[in-house]
Symmetry: C2
């Protein structure tokens, strides 16, 4: 789980993922694009891309050992042939969130909001990867990435809906929901 | 405490801090330089600098609320006129460290190693700031920065020595100790 994996998502006219919908749930939208490309490194913005978001998969920040054991036993990796649907959901949390100490954030994240417990219920159907970008000086704090088969689209909607009603989401000040299909 | 502050440290022939010593405590050294400059943004490497290290001050990762209250009450900020000595100590921890979950890392960091408790004893003499860089794809995980008056040099040596004998330091695989004076 310790591998450091950089990523860049470029939005524009080319890319292996076709954009189905782009919704600004909170805060500013991203400029509309037809396609999204995923790059396993940090790339600069260059035409024909109209925007780029950078992140880094890295060590876990809130997950505890017993939760990690459960996650490892249930989750499946990215790139499954059946997973032709994806979602990129960039998120930024408020200064109030980041001003809290670790155990205060953890208490809201899991004990009050059940972020991990709720997500486990959707494994292995929904594969996910979290990229961090707050240290990078990016416009978002996280780039959350999900992959699933078309028949699990409703389950994914339910997962997103339940998280958005949680206490944790009181601290989300920007969120863009980009739904994708393999092109 | 939630402010995001980027930094670049450039080593070379110019810079407001004159290098007194540079010691590779563990792992690879940094190329020797005569001066160090501190930039409040992420800058690219350009002559006459021979190396650059980037980091970001950001939210606390291990400190709990009661510890933060104590720190806030005792610590002083950077840039005190009396603090004409400084140290830049870049550190990289092992994959074994980053493969642990949050509560496992915290237990080693504080309950076993007393990182915060030991550091509090040196406040307000030693002012410090931690910059994170693991998400940035840098050669180190942290850039630790300290400022103190000349008469507190021995106290700083004692602080560094006690941390280096702690359990946490079993997970430090690269550490360069750069001592500086205002030029």
């Amino acid at each position: 789980m310790a591998g450091v994996i950089p990523v860049s998502f470029t939005g524009g006219e080319i890319g292996e993922w076709r954009v189905v919908t782009m919704d600004a749930i909170r805060g500013e939208p991203l400029p509309p694009v037809s396609n999204l490309a995923v790059h396993p490194r940090h790339v600069s913005l260059s035409p024909p891309a109209s925007w780029v978001l950078h992140g880094t998969k890295n060590h876990v920040r809130y997950t505890e050992r017993q939760e990690q054991v459960t996650l490892d036993a249930k989750q499946e990796g990215l790139g499954r042939p059946s997973a032709t649907c994806a979602a990129l959901i960039p998120i930024r949390k408020s200064e109030a969130w980041w001003g809290m100490t670790q155990e205060e954030r953890r208490a809201i994240f899991e004990e009050q909001s059940g972020h991990i417990a709720k997500s486990i219920a959707y494994l292995p159907a929904i594969a996910r990867r979290l990229y961090h970008c707050r240290d990078l000086g990016e416009p978002f704090d996280f780039l959350t990435w999900f992959e699933y088969a078309p028949e699990h689209g409703e389950a994914f909607d339910a997962l997103v809906a339940t998280l958005r009603t949680s206490r944790e989401w009181d601290f989300v000040e920007a969120e863009v929901d980009i739904r994708l299909v393999l092109s």
